[in-house]
Amino acid sequence: MPPAYLGEFEHLLLLAVLRLAGEAYALDIARELDVRAGRFVSRGALYTSLDRLEDKGLLRWKTAPGTPARNGMPRRLYTVTPAGLTALRASRQTLRRMWRGLEDLLEEPTS
């Protein structure tokens, strides 16, 4: 089975989950996207995208107990599945191939 194709936003989501190393729940992910990628994402888009990645088998989650601040409601802690890692690697490969030879043109100005 070829690795799943990742859209740009899905790509960012998987990376954010990886960066949070097993402690990722939705609010952390949103904050990571905001801080690192400068992307403010609506909650509707966030949850449905996470669900979609789950449907594709690239993410999985377990529940963690809630806190008083959330009226005792549980949290969903996400981890990237091996299929997710494969998809990310494949995606990076593709990008690398496409980048090759364009470094001079697209390198950010250093000064």
Binding site: R43, G44, A45, Y47, G66, R70, M73
Partner: protein
Amino acid sequence: MSRPDDAGDRRPPPLAVWILGRVLPRGPRGDTVLGDLVEEWQAHGATAAATLRFWRQTVSVAVRYRWRREHVNEPAPAGERNTRMSLDNLVQDVRYAVRSYVKAPSFALTILFTLALGIGASTAIFSMVNGILLRPLPLPDPDTLVYATEVNAGEGRAERTISVAWPNYLDWRARARSFAALALTREEPLTLTGVERAQRLRGRRVTGNFFALIGVSPAIGRGFTDSDDAPNAAPVALVSNGFWQTQFAGDPAALGRVLTLDGTAYTVVGVLPAGFEYLRPYDVFVPMGPIAGGGYLTDRGNHNGFSALGRLKPGVTIASADAELRAIAAALEREYPNSNSAVSVRTFRLADRIVDSVRQTLLALFGAVGFLLLIACVNVANLLIARGAGRQHELAVRAALGGGRARLATQLLVESTLVSVCGGTLGVVVAAGLLRLLVAMAPEGTPRLADVRLDAAALLFAFGAAALCGVVFGALPAFQASSVGGSHALVRGRSAGFAARSHRLRRGLIAVETALALMLLAGAGLMMRTLQELTQVDTGIRSDHLLTARFVLAGEQWTPPRRVGFYDAVIARASALPGVGHAALASSLPIDGSNWNSIFIVGDKPVPERSKLPSAAFTPVSTGYFETMGMRLLRGRLFDRTETPDSAKVIVINDTLARRLWPGEEAIGKRLKQGWPETPDRPGKPGEYFSPWREVVGVVSDVKFNGVTNDTPMQVYLPLVHDYARSVALVVRSSTEPASLVPAIEAIVHDLDKDLPLFQVRTMEQMLDASIARERMSMLIFAVFAIVAVALASVGLYGVVAHGVTERTHEIGVRMALGADARHVLGLVVRQGLSMALVGTAIGLAGAFALSRWIDALLFGVTATDPATFAVVVSTLLAVATIACYIPAWRATRVDPTTALRAE
């Protein structure tokens, strides 16, 4: 500032949480999302800004999750699947419908406007009908309240209401078994003096049992009792809440205060609750005591303006109560033949009696507005069908893609229901405005206007009408459209079957619409003719430049000589005003009706049996009255300065009396005597009534005496100096605008007696206008309905013809390519359009004739099938129809054959 310490106590917006509960999946999958949102809300300090943010995110989650479920087949929360599915469909249908209307705003606006008009007008008229005719009287147990009055039902004479004689009432009360209680009341305007400015009060005299019977107790103080009716009882009064507020500023200390009414001191013993009304609004109620024992009251032959009010015993019907009273009246007729011959009684439900005068008008208007509503519905149906026809391709595609027939029909129904709900809402707004206008325009004296309002029943009516429009008239096109076979409509081109079918239906609807419009137009035409006839009635007087005002010389102090002196002074000073030609006094005025009707006997004729005695309106008038009114002297002389209290007793009669009693004879010099044959003709014992023989000295032209529609009664005019009426009207003929004399006249009367209020101050023209106000208003409403109806019908006709032309562009192109000229095409289209209008006209004529008896009672001087009116109505309608057909026909002639053929 956020205050984290109490943030924990607060809750996120419950509605948003509820919505999330509906859209999110059950279990941890949903709870975690909700938990995140709550946590974020808390983290933002649970402030208003946080709440706003919570809402924004709720919306985004709701939209995304719903979309996802619809498109990814995610199962809906368990157990809700079926309802959710159909609810989803409904939401989808509504959304789709809104979108399609927004895309075609002129179509949607036309429908909305039509519906708002139809529903608004009918809801407004319904509110009138409901408030005045249907809603129970605001009195306890109103259905057991009956109104009874005596009538003179003499042979060969029209039955006349003559009011109840006091002794007869006492006998009813003693003998009748149908009533738990029986009261007697009469309207009795009273003059309030001893205040800064004397006032004319609206008063009603009632027997002591009246308030207990009607079941209303005073808000403060006490009611009346039987002992208040005793001749020696201290005079007491109950005042209305309104009078209490204006006169006593709502002060409870008003109890015990004294009101001087017609010269008698009445002590206020109670204040009636706000909103209490019997027949009409009154300022003050007084018991029988102050007039009890009076000779005129105890005379069985005197009917002094009273009517009876009864409370039926449980289980007794009005019919049986009526039968019992009639039987008692028949017994009294045998016992007292002198006074009671030909006197019987009529009983009514109180509520019916109150609204009797307007029932016919209101029902006719309600019928008319029903037609208008129907026309609006038909028009909407027409528009929806036309749209359905235009969308057959779209529907066929959807059907081919698996849209079930029921599903498609549902969607069309949703569309029509949506417009009708919006139309109903707009209609309520229109109705509120219209109702305010109608109440403001209602003729004076329209009963129960206070009960007219836009209430729950009216809202129910409006939305019921809207739902009917939507469901019935929306179902028609829905059925039409959903029966489209998927395959054949998909074949692009002329799918003749469906188009022809929808076209037939639309043509039928147009015919119906035209028929309804014709009936409304006929009603309006007949009402217009009626009004025209009414305004052209020869009243027998010169009504221009004539001012009238009434006053009453009530109380012991107004002895006959003082009254005569006062009359002379008023006439002399009014005549001396600049611009005044004549001034005179009369106890009754033309149009206004008589204050004194009486039987009489004729000197040179055998006295007929009692039930066949002639009756006339007796009117005391001052010298100069006939000249002031502009009446013509036919024979003999008018009253002049030779009339003094001691001069020979003379009378002037009207033409009707002269012709009826002395046909072909000279009436001048004949004698008659007002009253019964046995009434003495000269004074006997002091206080005993007598009536002298009077000689006819003149005959004057007839005047319209009781409104403009009633036939002139026999009339006898006698000099005011021979019958010193206490209640008189001053009439002044001026060369200037008569209304401008009001302050001067008021000043004269106030100067002569400061305790004498003038009332019913109006010009004769105002009086005439008021007498036909109801007809004028009905005509106006009918006319507006008719114009709207014709406009709607012609728009409908235009739409159908125009649509037909569009559909037949190809055919017309072929015809023209084959050499048909423009005139031929024009004729073809107009003929086809007009054929619908003609069919409708025929149906409408038949309908109008069938309904003619319903409108007959509202007409005057014109029959309900007046050929001239119908000729005008039919030609007007057909002219409008022709124009409506001509415009699209003309466009048809501009079809370029090559374009039309290439379009294939």
